[in-house]
């Protein structure tokens, strides 16, 4: 973000109050057309590239896994070789994971077009065709004011997009996550400037008006946390952002932090200003290197431009951020455990005292999750009214949901709170694949619950989900189809929390183990009707008496499945049968003669000599002798052994 001319006197040491606005709305301290022109040119360059042509390839964990790196290299190679005047930039994940890897070509006077599932080899063709205005391969066009009508659908008209409200994720897949300049060009840090020009109280007041609730899970009103922390008298306070996303099936925080890290930083600074914190920590999984990398880079950049450090933007407010690599433990989602981790210890502690009064090193501490602070930043950038337009009476605004599992269009979608699950699963995510039916929707990860398919009309907000036996959690929505066994699902989640239980308090440590053992027995056909009663009672006991939120919510999957899918449990127990054919001990294995090549591996590994046949001809399993160890299933190189 270079200076327009020598008259710009901003330095991190002596910052200019209007530094940010100055970048977008031309120089403010002095009036000079050439400076203004210079600024506008720069912004246009950022938006449409230096030559009015720009190709953006998303670089994020998910797209990389889908091969975006190769695509990127291919694009660069093509541009260099063909000597075309095109800017090649990177961007973040747009949230439509089913089109990964994608790329977007946009021009000042050409439509900006998205190509889906791009293979490196077809990159040259794509570029050629685009330049020759042939959009046959295109996936969608971003409408920009007046777009010439064509048979390629508008992105905004796709069901997976039209039902979204891109509020906090507005920049995802748009800006270059590594350049602070682009972020500013797209309206970044405006919110910070606004906030710094008011009092902390006013900031909290604004957040209160927005009615923003924690997006981390419990949905605790953010402003209350801030208010308590703000009212504490202490020499030093801390502001922590929890980017340690351990919740299986939810990745919106990773997505946000990778695609728009500066928004997180901005939100943090605002929050810190509100509570008067002088030090901030971003706690991010070491297992998610890219996320950590982007966040650290964002912090460095911000520091370089005086947005972090002493006397930020001349407001006299000092704040700095440190990125901490978490070694990974699900329990760190629990505030006190996270604090313990930062202090280099382990395990949560009893609350109260709450972190807002006695947190990191006994000082007042606010812990928010990535999406929450991003929301804060956006609220201040745009406006409270825009935010409160969406959502329900109790919970305002939008929320990102990661819809995964058995759906056509997995992805992270930002929708207004209060939208029904049906809309989320069918309209946005496109429902289950051909021939499958939704059996249940698991909301809220390991501490959430399963909502049966006939209750998909429940609106997604904190209260109703709770009454339905699930929780919003961080917003992971896993669609379970009829090919999955609910008992197995419950067992899976129990095993997860069992493994993640910190082992500090008895109910969680031993209770979960016993829960798991019982479930395991049931899935192996050794269950009894009484077990169901034990499950219920034990779950209640664990919920009622555990030390931290992990134990307090861990039995939810069991409880909800018991509540809605008791019949499946009964099937496992009474007639020793797994309706979905998942539980290894309760299914029948058989060899598909069409697939079997008669290699005889299965017969060799079978410990019960239940498999017979002669080389070259299809083998067969003798049911009476099969002990269901699933060895053959694992061994068969052809996948001819199938469960039934």
């Amino acid at each position: 973000m270079d200076k327009c001319c020598s008259r710009c006197w901003h330095t991190p040491e002596y910052p200019c109050k209007h530094y940010i606005r100055c970048r977008t709305e031309g120089p403010l301290c002095h009036d000079s057309p050439e400076c203004r022109a210079k600024r506008e040119r720069r912004i246009n360059e950022i938006k449409y590239g230096r030559y009015g042509l720009k190709i953006k390839v998303p670089i994020a964990s998910c797209t990389l896994a889908a091969g975006a790196k190769e695509v990127y290299n291919a694009v660069v190679k093509e541009v260099n070789s063909s000597g075309l005047n095109i800017d090649v930039g990177i961007t973040g994940c747009i949230g439509l994971c089913h089109i990964d890897p994608w790329l977007e070509i946009s021009g000042k006077d050409l439509p900006s077009v998205i190509y889906a599932n791009v293979k490196p080899e077809e990159v040259p063709k794509i570029i050629k065709e685009y330049l020759s205005k042939d959009l046959s391969r295109a996936f969608a066009i971003r409408s920009r004011g007046s777009t010439p009508p064509s048979k390629v659908p508008l992105l905004e008209e796709l069901p997976s997009w039209s039902n979204q409200v891109r509020f906090v994720s507005r920049n995802c897949g748009v800006v270059n996550p590594e350049s602070i300049e682009e972020y500013v060009a797209f309206g970044g840090f405006k919110g910070l400037e606004k906030a710094l020009n008011t009092t902390p109280k006013a900031v909290i007041e604004t957040v209160k008006r927005s009615g923003l609730r924690g997006r981390g899970g419990a949905g605790f009103p953010t402003w209350i946390k801030w208010d308590i922390a703000q009212s504490q008298v202490s020499d030093v306070k801390y502001f922590i952002v929890n980017a340690d996303e351990g919740d299986p099936g939810a990745f919106m925080n990773r997505l946000l932090a990778e695609a728009d890290p500066y928004r997180v930083v901005e939100g943090m600074i605002i929050g810190a200003y509100a509570i008067g914190a002088s030090k901030g920590y971003i706690f991010v999984r070491a297992e998610k290197p890219l996320m950590a990398e982007r966040l650290s880079k964002a912090v460095e950049e911000a520091r370089k431009y005086g947005l972090l450090g002493r006397n930020i933007l001349g407001s006299g407010f000092n704040f700095d951020i440190e990125v901490i690599l978490s070694a990974g433990a699900f329990v760190c989602g629990e505030e006190t455990a996270l604090i313990a981790a930062i202090e280099g210890r382990t395990r949560p502690r009893q609350r109260p005292p709450y972190p807002a009064t006695k947190g990191l090193w006994g000082k007042p501490t606010v812990i928010n999750n990535v999406e929450t602070v991003a929301h804060v930043a956006t609220i201040f950038q745009v406006s409270v009214d825009e935010f409160v337009r969406y959502g329900t009476e109790k919970s305002k605004g939008t929320k990102m949901f990661c819809v995964t599992g058995s759906v056509r269009r997995t992805g992270a979608y930002e929708v207004p709170i209060g939208i029904t699950l049906k809309k989320l699963v069918y309209d946005l995510a496109g429902g289950p694949p051909e021939g499958r039916n939704v059996k249940a929707v698991q909301v809220g990860g390991p501490s959430g619950g399963c909502v049966p398919s006939d209750m998909l009309d429940t609106p997604v907000d904190y209260e109703t989900l709770q009454s339905a036996g699930a929780i919003m959690g961080s917003g992971g929505v896993v669609v379970i189809d009829d090919k999955s066994c609910m008992v197995d699902v419950a067992k899976f989640f129990t095993s997860f929390t069992l493994a993640e239980s910190c082992g500090k308090c008895f109910p969680c440590r031993i209770g979960m183990k016993i829960l798991y053992d019982i479930l395991n027995n049931i899935t192996e056909g050794r269950g009894s009707e009484e077990d169901l009663e034990v499950l219920t009672e034990l779950s209640d006991a664990i919920v009622g008496s555990s030390l931290c939120a992990l134990g307090g919510t861990a039995p939810n999957p069991v409880k909800s499945t018991l509540r809605y899918f008791r019949d499946e449990y009964i099937a496992h127990i009474r007639d020793k049968r797994c309706p979905a054919g998942v539980c290894a001990r309760l299914v029948e294995y058989w060899i598909d003669p069409t697939k079997c090549v008669g290699c005889g591996l299965c017969a060799r590994v079978c410990p019960a000599n239940a498999i017979s046949g002669e080389r070259g001809k299809p083998y067969a399993i003798d049911r009476s002798r099969c002990i269901k160890c699933s060895q053959c299933f694992i061994t068969c190189p052809q996948g001819a052994v199938t469960k039934r």
């Binding site: 964990s61 896994a65 889908a66 990974g328 433990a329």
Partner: protein, 172 residues
């Protein structure tokens, strides 16, 4: 390389950068990035220098999933055990990998010490479920494989074992 010989230098290098209880997690991460795991000697060294009881260090080292106390293989399969991956059958993949690499019950590394297979937490790539990530011991290489089925899992197992053995020959 012999662990004991240069453990002092390694530790002192790390401690020059951060030397306080609050950075214990980071310090351990650094140690692990050097050795690929946390050698006992290193931990003892740490505790004596930083004046932290060894038990505390072990506590942290065993509490968080990232830390390993045994040397892993040259390549480590991280089999995602997230919900989506589980539902799409990563458990089977996990079994296949172990089976193909002949990993014994209760251990995570193949007998030849080339490759290890571990369950991992969600990578946040649920869209590609089931996902298997492969990282080299020093963490320099990371490969992410999506939409894995048991046949592919088998192939992957052999592929990376081959790579690992070639690495080993070249004294990696």
């Amino acid at each position: 390389m012999s662990v004991v010989s240069d453990v002092d230098t390694v530790i002192s290098n790390i401690l020059n950068r951060y030397n306080s209880r609050q950075y214990l997690m980071r310090i351990l991460q650094e140690v692990q990035s050097v050795y690929g795991y946390l050698p006992r000697e290193a931990l003892e060294k740490l505790s004596s220098i930083m004046k932290i009881p060894l038990s505390d260090i072990i506590n942290v080292a065993t509490f968080y999933h990232q830390y390993k106390l045994e040397p892993p293989g040259h390549y480590v399969f991280l089999v995602c055990m997230g919900t989506a991956c589980h539902l799409k059958g990563n458990q089977d993949n996990y079994n296949v990998l172990r089976d193909a690499l002949g990993i014994k019950e209760g251990t995570t590394t193949s007998p030849d010490g080339l490759v290890s297979v571990e369950k991992a937490r969600c990578f946040g790539c649920c869209s590609l479920a089931p996902v298997i990530m492969v990282v080299s011991r020093d963490g320099s290489e990371r490969y992410l494989h999506g939409y894995v089925n048991i046949q592919e899992a088998r192939k992957l197992a052999f592929k990376y074992r081959g790579l690992a053995s070639s690495k080993k020959k070249s004294g990696g």
